[in-house]
């Protein structure tokens, strides 16, 4: 069912939602996901949110800003049912209404369940202090979706509060899992490391920081020809561990004393990243330690 409301209020939206559910309420939905974006192109974010709603049935509220009009008002578009695992509400805030987004959203959040805010592109500097961010138990940003990813990452690190997370970190999970498994297999002390990536790649910066801080050895980051992270080498006393990605799909997996093998290692689509983020809503301590370590390094430079 599709309902369009022009120049509306949160109350009218709530009424429309109740009518659409035919009194059944929003039963079975486990969280509210607010997607905050000022970008005009948020279709990919909506597609990702819809797809991960199959794993985490949620009420998805997209909040966009349309600053070009003088009059503060709100338009809404509500979708329910029809193969949609939850509700999808798109709010367009006109005029200066963005500053009051908190009280717009509060009546629309699901009772007694977590609220997650996701900024797929640029986000405010201080997430937890933002009127929308303040509502959330979990705040997701994506440094890679920003104009200056490295700067965005440092910004995130500087303002980090428990509950903040960045998809840059989520992009590394598979790399990290393979590295952990490789180190386990070799079982020898590590003396150094190297991350080869596209220039200015935010995940690579974070990966090198994580490796460096966990291993306590220097880990350098070097420019390579491929997109994203190209290759990670860990020098151990028993020889080099190398994971080298080919064509964004598979990787060569070299562990000393073992035959060379191929593993699937594709760039993860947005849906996968978001689904992983929504799996755990508690603070991610390892991410916290890693961004703290990143700040230290930046400060030292």
């Amino acid at each position: 069912m599709l309902i369009e409301l022009h120049d509306t209020t949160s109350r009218d939206i709530s009424t429309a939602l109740t009518k659409a559910h035919r009194g059944a309420g929003a039963s079975g939905l486990v969280l509210t996901l607010v997607i905050a974006t000022d970008d005009r192109h948020f279709d990919d974010a909506i597609e990702a949110a819809k797809a991960s709603a199959y794993a985490h049935p949620s009420r998805v509220i997209v909040v966009t800003n349309s600053p070009d009009e003088a009059e503060p008002k709100m338009d809404a578009r509500i979708e329910t049912g029809d193969g949609l695992p939850g509700d999808l509400i798109t709010l367009t805030l006109h005029g200066g209404l963005r500053a009051h987004a908190g009280t717009v959203l509060l009546p629309l959040l699901l009772p007694d369940s977590p609220t997650v805010v996701w900024w797929p592109h640029e986000g405010p500097a201080d997430l937890a202090g933002d009127p929308i961010g303040r509502l959330a138990t979990r705040r997701i940003t994506d440094a890679s979706g920003c104009a200056d990813p490295q700067h965005a990452l440092v910004m995130r690190a500087r303002h980090h509060r428990p509950g903040d997370t960045d998809l840059t970190w989520t992009r590394l999970t598979r790399w990290r899992a393979l590295l952990v498994a490789a180190v386990e297999q070799v079982g020898a002390p590590i003396v150094g490391g190297r991350v080869v990536s596209a220039p200015d790649n935010a995940p690579a910066t974070l990966l090198a920081t994580w490796l460096g801080s966990r291993l306590g050895v220097p880990v350098e980051r070097v420019d390579g020809p491929g997109v994203g992270v190209n290759e990670v080498t860990l020098q151990t006393e028993a020889g080099d561990i190398v994971i080298r990605r080919h064509e964004e799909m598979t990787a060569e997996y070299l562990v000393p004393g073992r035959p060379a093998r191929t593993v699937a290692l594709r760039r993860r689509p947005l849906t996968d990243l978001l689904t992983e983020e929504l799996q755990r809503l508690d603070a991610d301590e390892v991410f916290e330690q890693t961004v703290a370590s990143l700040l230290e390094r930046q400060g030292g430079q």
């Binding site: 039963s27 079975g28 939905l29 486990v30 199959y54 794993a55 985490h56 049935p57 989520t170 999970t173 598979r174 990290r176 899992a177 393979l178 590295l179 952990v180 498994a181 180190v183 386990e184 297999q185 079982g187 020898a188 590590i190 490796l211 966990r214 291993l215 306590g216 799909m249 598979t250 997996y253 562990v255 073992r258 035959p259 093998r261 191929t262 593993v263 699937a264 594709r266 992983e276 755990r280 991610d284 301590e285 390892v286």
Partner: protein, 513 residues
């Protein structure tokens, strides 16, 4: 090297890092009976899904063993088709390529020395080429009669010899014997070669997810536990119904019967999970201790004629289709005394459950496919309404729905709106599928992963298997002594009349699931 490896602490691993999945050691999974239905529909897709989720180690190998004259490519083709048809996750070429590198096939009989010689060579090659390091898991997707020859061959060819730094594990499927004695014999065969913690007994109806869901529901909530005893519960019904007949499995089913097939394992496992005390923690060992305690306290009543029932489905019409009766099924003799419906009462002699009967029932050709555990509560001591107000009011019930549509239903009384005062039963539903994911891992995925990780299984150890047989054996003996064939029941109904009478004797009636 060996001792150094043990002392090594992986600096990248951290208990706080819960995003990181545990990836299994490089290893080879050998499937015996790989041409079977189960293997194609469940095992191969589960292996692929694990690979797709990034949980299989680089260098994982899958070895099929069966009588067919296949080459590696032929087998790979079969796996490919099975995966495309049955896998739960999206098919991705790069994941398939990774799997394909490690797919091998060994053709032969269980008594062929030559074939097991080739299996050994194949595994040796994989250890070198794929780095599987001598870690081998053997999955016996074969009838129990095949266990003995396979075990003998594994032993003769040194395929299960303990080598430090590597592991061997074995997976066997139900039925774990057909009575207490045969269960012990079977165990003797398997435990010659494998230690108890290396044996994984799978019960695919009761996957690890389901078990954990029941445990979380019971022990993570304050709400239910105070009610979970004989102060409030009047009786418990555990039902596992199938809407199909024996579907061409006469050779397996006839002479075995449904009580041996599912009651000994699924229903008694459900009973144990629903009735056990709270374990001190969720270690597999603690959990088993509690399950064993409750199974040891469970027994069938002395008068088995009054408290058990059995039946056979008759020919007739089910759900708009004409169906054959059990005795008319191909391969079933007309004088068959094998039951396709079984019901029995079980009492648990402990403080929590004394006086609360547990009724177990299972059948084929029932109205619908359903597995559930239903706790019925006692009537309130006093109802401040007139008898006509509460004419439609039953008792409260809490139903753990296991299959399909796993979830929880709570039934309670509510006033019918608009009437003066009329109280009727309503229900409140929770579904795991709705609130969490449909892409949650399947039972076989969890099992294979547990086998490869060496996680202590939540599946029963031999002790539990023996305790279950001890409960069931008297019923089976009683039935074997009866002169008549099991009572006929119309297909598409909830079983024979004797089952209803069995509950009526206790002043109760079965709930309609």
């Amino acid at each position: 090297m060996q001792s150094q490896q043990r002392a090594f602490v992986n600096p990248l691993r951290s208990a706080e890092d819960r995003r990181l999945p545990r990836i299994a050691d490089p290893s080879a999974l050998v499937i015996f009976g790989v041409t079977g239905d189960l293997s194609r529909k469940k095992l191969m897709p589960a292996v692929y899904d694990l690979a797709n989720r990034g949980l299989l180690p680089p260098g994982f190998a899958l070895v099929g063993f069966a009588r067919r004259e296949w080459a590696d490519q032929d087998f790979a083709r079969v796996v490919h088709d099975a995966v495309q048809e049955h896998a739960r996750t999206e098919f991705r070429e790069e994941v398939w390529e990774q799997l394909l590198e490690g797919i091998r096939f060994v053709s032969g009989d269980f008594d062929s020395d030559e074939a097991f010689g080739r299996l050994k060579t194949t595994l040796g090659e994989l250890d070198r080429e794929r780095g599987t390091c001598g870690n081998h898991a053997f999955y016996l997707s074969i009838p129990p009669s095949g266990f003995e020859p396979v075990m003998r061959q594994l032993k003769r060819h040194g395929l299960a010899e303990q080598v430090p730094g590597s592991w061997h594990r074995v997976v066997i499927e139900k039925p774990f014997g057909h009575d207490l004695e045969s269960a012990r014999e079977l165990d003797a065969v398997v435990s010659q070669l494998f230690k108890p913690q290396e044996v994984f007994r799978i019960d695919h109806y009761l996957g690890k997810e389901t078990v954990q869901n029941i445990l979380a529901m019971r022990f993570a909530n304050q709400l239910f536990e105070p009610l979970w005893n004989n102060n409030h519960v009047s009786h418990v019904e555990i039902t596992m119904a199938e809407d199909i007949g024996i579907a061409g499995r006469a050779g397996y089913f006839d002479g075995i019967g449904i009580a041996r097939d599912v009651m000994q394992n699924h229903l008694l496992q459900l009973l144990a999970l629903a009735a056990m005390e709270e374990p001190t923690n969720f270690d597999a060992a603690q959990l088993r201790t509690e399950k064993q305690k409750v199974l040891a306290a469970a027994r069938v009543p002395a008068d088995l004629a009054r408290h058990t029932a059995r039946g056979q489905y008759a020919p007739g019409w089910q759900g708009g289709k004409e169906v054959r009766g059990y005795r008319q099924e191909e391969g079933v003799p007309d004088d068959s005394r094998t039951e396709t419906f079984a019901a029995m009462r079980v009492d648990i002699d402990n403080r929590r459950w004394a006086g609360v009967p547990f009724y177990l029932r299972t059948g084929k050709r029932m109205p619908r496919r359903v597995t559930e555990v239903a706790l019925s509560f006692k009537r309130p001591p006093h109802l401040p309404f007139t008898a006509t107000d509460t004419a439609d009011l039953g008792t409260n019930a809490l139903v753990l729905r296991i299959q399909p549509d796993e979830g929880v239903t709570l039934r309670f009384g509510a006033k019918v709106p608009g009437t003066q005062m009329e109280i009727r039963d309503v229900s409140m539903d929770f579904g795991y599928g709705g609130s969490f994911t449909e892409s949650s891992p399947e039972a076989y995925e969890r099992l294979i992963l547990d086998v490869l990780l060496g996680e202590p299984p939540l599946f029963p150890l031999q002790e539990e298997v023996e305790l279950s047989w001890r409960i069931l054996d008297p019923v089976l003996e009683h039935w074997a002594e009866l002169p008549e064939q099991p009572e006929q029941y119309a297909p598409g109904t909830w079983g024979p009349r004797s089952a209803d009478e069995m509950l009526a004797r206790d002043g109760l009636a079965w709930r309609r699931p």
